[in-house]
Each structure stands twice: as C-alpha cells, then as structure tokens.
C-alpha cells in the first residue's frame, strides 16, 4: 500500500520535471502557428509566420547546413585517422593528446572565439568568410568524433584482426579500408550525428565569429528574439526544432541499439558456444 503511494508520488514528480522541459517547447511550436499568441489559439491557425521566417531567414538555414556538412567532412577526414592512431598507440602520450583534444569542449566557446579573432581577425578575407565560422565548429566538434571512434576501437581487439589481414598479405591501406573502417562504423556514425547536431545548434562561438554576411541559424534566432514579434521568433524556433529533432531521435535510437547489444554481450556464452555445449552433451 505504502509502496503504491510512493510510486505515484515519484511518478508525479518525474512527470512534473518532464512537463517543465516539454511544455515550453510546445508553447513555442504553438505560438509559431497562431495568428496572435496574446489571444491564444482561438485567434486562428496560420502559416503566415513560418512563411515570413522563410522569406527573412532562409539564407541562415542554408548556411547552417553548408557549415554542418563541411564540418562533418573535415572531422571525418582528420578525426577518424587521428582516433585510429590514438587507439593503436595507447600509452601516456596518447592519453595526453586525448586530453588536449577535448580542451575546446571544456573551454567556453566565448574564450576560443576571442582567441581566434585576436589571432586571425586581421586577415580580412578569412575573417569575413563562412570558413572562419567553420574553423570554430571544427575545433568544437572534433573531440566528439575522435572520442566516439576511439571508444569503439578500444572496445574491441582490432589489432588482432589487422594482424590476421597483414599475415595474409594486406597492405596498410588495404587493412585500414577493409578492416579498421568497417569495424569502427558504429562509432563513426554516432560521431557524425553528434557533429552535425552540435554544428547546427552552435551559438557561443558562432555569435562572436559571424559577420552580417555570414549568419547561421542560431545567430538568426538570437536576432529574431531581440527584434521580432513573439510569433515570428516562435515560428523560427519551430523550424529549428524540425531540423534538429530527427537528428536527436536518430542519436537516441543508435544509443539504445548499442545498449541492447551490450546487454547481449554480457551473456558470457555466445549462441555458438551454447550450440557447441549442447553438441558435447550429445
């Protein structure tokens, strides 16, 4: 009896916390499609604000997508090989490098942006191009790619597989492409989703690095919060959610799959072992 009561109390509490997180998101989505938020939904449903956002800010969405894709390409090309080297070498130096590589996540974006502006702000063409923002995003997302791939590689014995391939005469690059990369696939996928999500939503660095010609989606959002009516700001936020939520769902599905795979792994006997055991009994 008392347990039931305790369960309900805890459930109510958890639901309240959940409401605190979700209700504002729903309010924002609702405000984006109502004629006048002050009078509520009864003032009518409209796509007017979303169309207005599209006309005013569509360029920020294209730029955010461009930067996110470029950022993903760069972190894949430089991050995956780096993670492989770190996984192979191990030891104190590798751990030190790993620690240094995570620094841009630990240091507030504002400080990194300031450092970049003071150092490279003088190069006009660089400063005013979107590549300047891209550099900031690469620094910020690279640790996630490296750690994600590193985690997968460290959790399995890829050296043994590689040695097997080498003994059959595979060259270094053959092994890298046919043994290492396919085995690191889940880490690469998780890292990629993370990189794109973080890049699309990055504000702290981007606000300092942007110019009037290079506005990304979050920069445009800040702009609309400061100067537009609530409905337009809400509609813009709604567009942002529509862009980012599929990425978040994909990420959650991936981590759930991994968790389930882990649980299966915890079973000390694989299906093959069990089959063999049965065979022995017979």
């Amino acid at each position: 009896m008392q347990r039931r009561w305790l369960f309900n109390l805890q459930l109510a509490f958890t639901l309240f916390v959940c409401a605190f997180l979700i209700v504002p998101v729903m309010l924002s989505a609702l405000a984006g499609v109502t004629e006048n938020f002050f009078f509520g939904i009864k003032s009518g449903f409209t796509f007017r604000w979303i169309i207005e956002v599209w006309n005013l800010y569509s360029e920020t969405m294209y730029l955010s997508l461009l930067i996110a894709i470029a950022c993903l390409a760069v972190t894949l090309v430089i991050g995956v090989p780096a993670a492989y080297v770190l996984a192979r070498q191990g030891g104190r130096l590798a751990r030190f490098i790993e620690e240094v590589i995570v620094l841009p996540v630990a240091v507030p974006g504002l400080a990194i942006a300031l450092a970049l502006i003071i150092m490279y702000g003088g190069f006009r063409d660089f400063r005013t191009s979107w590549v300047f923002i891209l550099v900031g995003h690469i620094l910020y997302t690279l640790p996630f790619m490296v750690r994600s791939v590193l985690a997968v590689l460290s959790s399995m014995n890829f050296r043994e597989l590689e040695e097997g391939a080498a003994s059959l005469g595979a060259s270094f690059w053959q092994r890298f492409y046919t043994v290492v990369l396919p085995n690191a696939k889940s880490g690469i996928l998780a890292g990629s989703l993370m990189v794109v999500t973080l890049s699309v939503g990055e504000f702290n660095l981007t606000w300092m690095l942007h110019t009037p010609e290079t506005k990304t989606l979050p920069v445009g959002l800040a702009d609309s919060y400061a100067s537009m009516r609530l409905e337009v700001a809400s509609a813009y936020t709604l567009v942002f959610f529509v862009m980012i939520i599929p990425l978040l769902i994909a990420m959650q599905m991936l981590s759930r799959e991994k968790r389930q795979a882990k649980i299966a792994d915890d079973d000390p006997l694989s299906d093959l072992d069990k089959l063999n055991l049965q065979k022995d009994k017979l």
């Binding site: 509490f13 090989p81 996540v105 400080a111 690279l142 959002l221 919060y225």
Partner: protein, 273 residues
C-alpha cells in the same frame, strides 16, 4: 610490422595536429599573452579580485552555478532513480523527453524561459488568472536560474541513470532485511553508491553553467554573469586585455571542473553550451 608503420601513423594524425595547433593551441597561448599585454600587465589576471565589477560578476556566476548544480542533482536523482527502478507503460517516451533538450542551444533555452516566465509567458498568464498579479521573472537572475536548470537536468539525469543501472539491488535488500528504514537505505546505501556519478555530473553541470552564454544573451544583456561581462568588455568597452584575461580564468575553472568529472567517470556528456 608495428615499427615500420610509424611514419604512416604519423601522417595519419598530422592533419588533425596541424588544424589543432594552428587554430587552438597557438591562438589560446596568444590569448594568455594578450591578457597580460594591457596597461596593467600581468595584474590583469588579478582583476577578477581587484575590479569590483569583475569580482561581483565572478561571485554571482559561481553562486548561480553552485545553486543550479545542487538543485539539478536533487531533481535528477529522484527522477533518474525512479526511471531506472520502475518499468511502466510510456517509460521509454518519458526518458526520451527528459533527454531531448540536451542538444538545444543556449539561445533557444533563453527563449523558452521567456515563453514560460516572460511578459506574455505561461506563468504570468496563470498567476494573473488566479491572483490577479502577473508574475514575470524571465529577465532576471531567477530567469537565468530556470534556464540553466533546463539544460542541466537532462545531462545529470543521463549520468544518474547510468550509475543507478549498475547498482546492486541485493545490497538494498540486505539493508532492508537488517531493519534499515527507507531513509537509511537512501542515505547509507544508494547515495554512497551513486556518489562518483553524482560528483562527476555535478562537475559537468557546474562547468556548463559557468560558461553558458547564449541563455543570458537572450534573456537580458544587463545580467552580470562572467560570460556576459567578458562579452561587454570586448564589444562595448574594447578592453581586449581584460576580456582575454577573464576568458582564460573562466576557461581554467571550467576545465578543472570537467577534468574532475572525467577522472571520476571516464565518459562525458559535457559541452559548454
């Protein structure tokens, strides 16, 4: 084959190393130098203590972050433990909802606080209907507190749940059969077992709150938290040395906090959002 391949391995890590050195290490070292190159020289690094405005902003930011961390830990432990120990319909959905906001940028969270507690906000509308008094607190420290809590809860819940899943139910059963009250079980069995996870996620939460910029930026530019002070020093007062030295100090604080978190848990859900 290992030693023969050192040159190839070196080549593989080289691009990342170059990008990192050119755009992070060198600019950051330069930032440290710039911080000391103002009229005050190295004394700029003491400005956090000697300039009243900087000191006040530092104290306010630390207090806010500690407060948010404490409240987020309590809330997330209760909800996280509940979600790990009970299986019920809709549990997975509830977990998804609780962890979604993890990737929302600070600016968006600031706007959500405005919708909740701003001039046209939900809380104001409800309080007006009931008490005939419009409650508006989005544009102050209280609004910032709510915003920071918003982005802290998902991070902490994830860590608490991961730690709670490893908890051995037999220990609790044993304590109970030996006559421990539910309160004693929580105090003597559950909390000690969750402690490393709680410290780690608390440190992450503290670091994130210290460095958060977007939320304060959306809510009000006159709330003096450290990132806002750095921003005003740089853009309005053109005090580049001051902004640089404050950023370095802020970076050191968040890095130390996250270092503690990493050495305790080994995994991070951290970012300076």
């Amino acid at each position: 084959m290992a030693h023969r391949e050192y040159p190839t391995l070196f080549l593989l890590i080289l691009p990342a190393a170059i990008v990192f050195a050119a755009f992070f290490v060198v600019p950051m070292v330069n930032l440290v130098a710039v911080g000391a190159a103002g009229e005050d020289g190295f004394a700029a690094y003491y400005s956090v203590f000697t300039t009243p405005r900087h000191f006040e902003s530092m104290v306010a930011t630390v207090l806010l972050s500690v407060g948010v961390t404490a409240v987020a830990l309590v809330i997330s432990t209760i909800a996280g433990l509940f979600l790990v120990r009970n299986r019920f319909w809709g549990r997975e959905t509830l977990i998804s909802f609780l962890t979604f906001p993890l990737a929302f940028p600070g600016v968006v969270i600031g706007f959500l606080v405005i919708l909740l507690a701003g001039r046209q906000g939900l809380i104001g509308t409800i309080s007006k209907a009931i008490f005939d008094d419009k409650l508006v607190f989005a544009y102050s420290m209280a609004g910032l507190f709510i915003g920071y809590l918003y982005f802290s809860i998902p991070r902490v819940i994830l860590t608490v749940m991961a730690a709670a899943e490893k908890l051995d139910p037999a220990l609790e059963e044993a304590a109970r059969s030996l006559g421990a009250s539910p309160c004693q079980v929580v105090k003597d069995v559950i909390i000690p077992a969750l402690k490393p996870g709680l410290i780690a996620s608390g440190a992450i939460c503290f670091a994130t709150s210290m460095g958060a910029f977007g939320t304060a930026f959306t809510l009000a530019t006159n709330i003096d938290v450290l990132p806002m002070t750095i921003y005003t020093e740089f853009t309005l007062n053109a005090n580049i040395a001051g902004a640089a030295s404050l950023s370095i100090i802020l970076g050191l604080i968040t890095w130390i906090a996250l270092f503690i978190a990493r050495s305790l848990s080994g995994s991070t859900v951290a970012s300076s959002g």
